[in-house]
Symmetry: C2
Subunit: 349 residues, 2 copies
């Protein structure tokens, strides 16, 4: 059921036009294009065929044609050419990212903001889920007679700490011993291993000599590990939605913004997406309210692992080729930056 060359050309032209104008495109408009030297009638026949095959729809009898999700999918898979970015765009991206490169979270936030600015869409990014991250170093530092700081450093350079109010007395030597002991036990374990494999429970019995200390510490240790697993969501350019004709209806704009404001759901949705560049179009999104939207996401890596995601969300009518190219270039930049030659230089906020 392959489409003829001419049908593909027409479909492509319709998509191109509709993406630009957001108006249903008619046969007359198309026949004026130099690359389509057919009369309106001929084009109408072809369009009728394309509609029968499910690639076009018809808002009402006397309106032009609108591409369906199926058409966009075909376009993305076969027709679209990824646009090479211009020198200016490339240097813009590179320069804008450079400024904030030494703080990981800031860089990601910045990248999302840049992405929404260039594409005029709503962008988002999530930091990596760190359950593959490996513990490297644990320390306990006395602050005053009743406060101790628990510090956990991971292989990826992330540092977490927590000030703990102790209920039992301690000495600096005790703390040191305990910290060494913990480092010995947990070093090389991933965070999720540390949390799930009951090492913690076993550990407590090991050092029965200072179980009071451990009892104060362990719940805090676990909570800090849980914190380290947490994924942060950044979202930028939410109000770009207001410039898109599809959302000039208040109800739709409201729905969109309400949907995107649900941080937990959005985070989950993004985590679940495949790695690499992924495009999901309209009805392919099963979530309520996302049926009119397309998402383009890509994953970025830190030192080849620990994959986070960045992407955009917009109406199905979007510049797939251009946006994809931009995201691709952006993640390339991020990947290079996060290749940890200056490794571990990310700091806590």
């Amino acid at each position: 059921m392959d489409l003829s060359e001419r049908k593909l050309k027409i479909l492509s032209a319709i998509i191109g036009d509709y993406v630009r104008t957001a108006e249903p495109v008619g046969s007359r408009t198309l026949s004026k294009k130099p690359e389509l030297g057919y009369s309106p009638a001929t084009i109408r026949n072809e369009m009728a065929d394309l509609e029968e095959l499910g690639y076009l729809t018809h808002p009402h009898t006397s309106a032009g044609r609108v591409p369906s999700d199926k058409a966009y999918r075909l376009y993305v898979n076969a027709l679209m050419d990824k646009k090479e970015l211009s020198k200016e765009e490339k240097t813009l991206i590179a320069n804008r990212l450079k400024g904030s490169m030494n703080e990981f979270e800031k860089t990601i936030e910045h990248a999302a903001s840049l992405l929404s600015e260039i594409t005029n869409l709503t962008s988002f990014a999530i930091t990596p889920k760190k359950n593959e991250d490996v513990l490297k170093y644990i320390n306990l530092l006395p602050v005053d007679s009743e406060t101790v700081i628990l510090m956990i450093v991971s292989e990826s350079g992330k540092v977490n700490n927590r000030a703990i109010k102790m209920s039992v007395a301690y000495t600096e030597e005790n703390l040191n011993l305990l910290a060494k002991n913990m480092t010995y036990n947990y070093k090389g374990k991933t965070i999720s291993q540390a949390l799930t494999n009951n090492i913690i429970a076993n550990f407590e019995t090991d050092i029965i000599a200072m179980s009071g200390l451990a009892e104060d510490l362990m719940p805090n240790f676990m909570r800090t590990l849980e914190d380290m697993l947490n994924v942060n969501l950044y979202m930028e350019g939410l109000t770009n939605i207001f410039n898109i004709p599809e959302y000039s209806d208040l109800e739709k704009a409201k729905g969109f913004i309400e949907l995107l404001s649900k941080k937990e759901e959005m985070t989950r949705k993004l985590i679940e997406r495949d790695d690499g560049i992924t495009i999901s179009i309209g009805e392919e999104n099963i979530e309520d309210g996302l049926q009119d939207c397309s998402l383009i996401t890509a994953s970025y890596a830190i030192n080849g692992k620990l994959v986070g995601k960045i992407g955009v969300i917009g109406p199905t009518r979007m510049e797939y080729g251009e946006v994809t190219s931009i995201i691709e270039y952006l993640t390339d930049n991020l990947n290079n930056a996060f290749r940890l030659e200056g490794g571990g230089e990310y700091d806590e906020e």
Copy 2:
């Protein structure tokens, strides 16, 4: 130029009605209220007077009256009675806050979310500006041969750290010495003192023996101090705006959301506001786009100092009495919780 008892009663009734319905209120509606046993004509006369005095306006000839900013101001200053919260509301607030009490930032975020939920308005909160916070303890920890963690603990219990890639070799003793030295120099200084008073510059010369080390460290030290000063902004219930008739116009909703999305500006605006409960109505807000809005903010304290702010923003037509009571009760709760008996148990994220 005092208003007569009757005028006040009528004005109060108009405000009450308008706040509920968002519709201009007419003389007939008012005369039906049992507490206002006058004929529509009488009330019309009084309303005409009130309009002349600037308390009411007239969207068009054949519409009812709408309270002006001046009317709301009078209402807030003199007429409004703060509503005592019901037992249910009080326990709701107390319980909902309790859950997250041991992490400072989370608590604030949670409080903002709770506030927007109860008031059906958009809420926000900022964490305290910490320039009054006093440094307590500085430490340098070796992680591996080229990475060192700089850790700064403040009196208020905040812990910040940063992993630093060193360009010169170091020994553990050197680090210890330097850390002790730094603690000795900075302990008791506020963050802003440490940043501004050139202690840092002087300090560098003091320990000329290991100036290479210090050169690597000091820029990071300053950046971390700057981070510590930073104020976080939380915003919740942005989409509540869509349920407010005043913003059923797309342009207005867009303007509102765009305005609130500017984090830096909002933060600045909030920082500048007076402490205690502050109500600013309509035109009293000089910022562009805030002229149709009212803000109610309150400050909360940590251990009596380090004041952050929390509040709501909504149309000038809002339930000033009720919202004020809620905010008051909420900040009371926060103040108690932050009285640092379990002090310093806030952790970094």
